[in-house]
Amino acid sequence: MSNPLLDNLRIEPTPGPSVLVIFGASGDLTRRKLLPAIYQLSRAHRLPAQFSIIGVARSPLTDEAFREQFQESLKEFAGLESPSQDDVARSVAKRIHYIAGELDSPELYRRLAERLRETGADGVLFYLAIPPSVYASVAERLGEAGLSKPQPHGWRRVIVEKPFGVDLESARSLNAVLHQYFDEEQIFRIDHYLGKETVQNLLVFRFGNGMFEPIWNRRYIDHVQIAAAETVGVERRAAYYEGAGALRDMVQNHLMQLLALVAMEPPTAFTAASVRDRKMDALASAQPLVMNESARADAKIVRGQYAAGWVTGDEVPAYREEPGVDPRSATETYVSLRLDLDSWRWAGVPFYLRTGKRLPKRITEIAIQFKRPPLEIFRRVTPTSVSPNLLIVNVQPDEGISVRFQAKLPGTRMQVAPVMMNFRYGSAFGGSVPEAYETLLLDALLGDATLFARHDFVEASWALITPVHQWWEQEASASVPTYEAGHWGPPDADALLARDGRRWRTL
């Protein structure tokens, strides 16, 4: 029965009656991202009238204490001065409940089931904002308690935060456990990069315009650079980061997703299945990264670890001097690599990826560099060679798209200079851009998995990088090159591109 009041109503779809169950309710992610996202969605009328939140964690909190935590979170991370005076915040708070217990205790799930029955909601979204080490046991307990199976008129979904495993084997076994209790359609593996406006816009840019796709191939594109640079160090995440490093933390998920969006073939429809199929095809075409002694000289991957230096106006310590970090740590805080795709579209077009901590600038972008014109007819009149065309997708912090092309300098002489044409979300459209977690949380409530990672994609990306990790583990920690904090990575990173007659873009 369609809702007659929705005709021409300028709102995006809203989910039906539902409950969000957050495992790890007292944790950092919940406070920083999830609770503010729920508030913003509610404020914008994007949540159903029958909506409630059940926080689950070990901390012995009451409903009231968890509601206070919600208010605190809005104050700190949603910029609300006085959440207790905010009508939306008060309304959401009334729908917040809390269940304390051990995550592996069947008793906890019995109480959860009881609470879910009381809400009478059709849909239940479980959010695993918990350490990856307990994903499997929570999924098992949910399954054993009968909470993973959709009800006749309802649905059950689960959001799993990254990292999805630590290597190919663990990713496969995590997927196997999840699949034991949830169908793939019920599983939403979140990668917050995919919730960013520009990343979604990449699909529109490529497949909503007729002029770019014809040149989006080896015939016109020289190479692609994808960069995710951070100025921050390891901060308070040493315990996690020591075991992860930049390759697991950034490349396996965020950068692989960006690469797939750039490299994918056009989907036949804007549906989760079609988009994810094409992304998977793109990733599957990546050549393996060969790691052995004979390949060392022309290795396609470079790692580094930040030494002490100066970033954003402050002196900062070396990674090994950070609290919680092993003084002999071999964990990489920087990675750059070259990936080659075996496909008709991309044969011979390298994709260079780089990411690192304590780099000079916080920026994430995709830069597509086009080939130079076949004939440089202005060589005689311009002293420097003509800059190749560049298309830059700015993912953060200033979301937008820029195009670089050549223009004649004004004057009687024929002189050529590059100019940049910029489109910025912040200035071209009024209003604010939603936070990635708002977009993704809502999509999961609506059952739209387009912007979530599928199991085969996760496993394929682990299959690419796991041999690299295995090789690095065999090498001595002393062999990790360092770079001064505030610089753009170790010298080997420049050599990686110099070997191909190219260089990193100046960011």
């Binding site: 029965m1 007659p4 509610s42 489109f423 459209f429």
Partner: protein, 318 residues
């Protein structure tokens, strides 16, 4: 602090009509200079917004546009209607003001000044219907924003025949409509609609109340429902109650004014929720309108239906 002025774009420069484009280019170059008093123009533009009306009704919009934020990426053309063939012209990097232009030349001016290949939206803040209709032929969308829309709403069919039409009153009702609509996601609520015999709307703006009433009447196909509109000076719309003796859906503006609360108690189903009322200043509403391109059939039907909802007394009934 805003400065009261009787001039449109006092911070702009005076020029001749034929010099508008080159002057704007020079202003844009100046705006790129650090310390320039104007906000810098954006590199990407999305639309032309033509704002037409009596001068006093344009000055406040021009003043608030300075703050940016809501409506960006557009070329704004202010046309204060008058009797001049050669109006006063002032420009900034992204705005044009024509002061006192004779009505019959407005469409010529718009044709010359709008950005090519991008939508043109007419923000109508008052004037003759004939002028409006002539302009409607030229633009991609008309957005009405007048104190008394009665005479314009009476011609809604003629207007929509030229292209999509909206009304900022309607835009301001969006959150109310969303909140009401959410309750009707539940099938039990939809089947209860024919039982509703009473619709009460309290608010300071009768036209908004009639529009909202018209929308509910047409969308829910209410036939035996008595509509009462009562004055309430606090907000354009303060409270809406739909129901019968035993069942009720009520929406009301909360005391602090920024939110609206909805409660439903229908056939054993009970629910409540609170949402933001949104930003109701004209620029914010216009920014929402700029996202709309197509005909809004619900608005058109609501306007037609609003015509049958009484206007005369404090307590208007149907």
């Amino acid at each position: 602090m805003s400065v009261t002025t009787d001039r449109l774009l006092p911070e702009g420069v005076e020029t001749r009509f034929s010099e508008i484009e080159p002057t704007m280019v020079r202003m844009a170059a100046g705006a790129a200079v650090p310390g320039s008093p104007r906000r810098s123009i954006t590199a990407a533009t999305t639309a032309t917004v033509v704002i037409v009306g009596p001068k006093p009704r344009l000055i406040d919009v021009a003043e608030s546009l300075k703050s940016g934020g809501h409506v960006t990426g557009v070329r704004s053309i202010f046309i204060a209607t008058g009797s001049l063939c050669t109006p006063g012209v002032r420009v900034t990097a992204s705005e044009i003001a024509l002061d006192g232009l004779r009505g019959e030349f407005i469409d010529n001016a718009v044709a010359a000044l709008r950005l090519p290949s991008l939508p043109t939206v007419l923000w109508w803040r008052g004037g003759d219907f004939d002028r409006l209709q002539a302009l409607a032929k030229l633009v991609d969308r008309v957005v009405l924003d007048v104190d008394d829309p009665e005479s314009l709403w009476a011609h809604i069919d003629a207007l929509v025949a030229e292209g999509p039409v909206g009304d900022l009153r309607w835009t301001a009702l969006t959150r109310w409509r969303v909140l009401m609509a959410h309750f009707f996601d539940v099938p039990a609520m939809q089947s209860a609609a024919p039982r509703f015999t009473r619709l009460q709307i309290q608010g300071a703006d009768r036209h908004s109340a009639r529009l909202f009433g018209g929308w509910l009447m047409t969308s829910l196909k209410l036939q035996n429902t008595r509509i009462e509109i009562e004055d309430d000076s606090r907000h354009a719309i303060a409270r809406v109650t739909l129901g019968n003796d035993a069942e009720e859906i009520s929406l009301h503006r909360l005391d602090r004014g920024a939110c609206v609360e909805g409660r439903a108690r229908v056939n054993g189903y009970e629910a409540s929720r609170v949402g933001s009322i949104g930003d109701l200043i004209p620029l914010a509403l216009m920014s929402e309108e700029l996202r709309v391109r197509a005909h809004d059939a619900a608005f058109e039907a609501a306007v037609r239906s609003a015509g049958s909802i009484g206007m005369a007394d404090d307590r208007a009934t149907v």
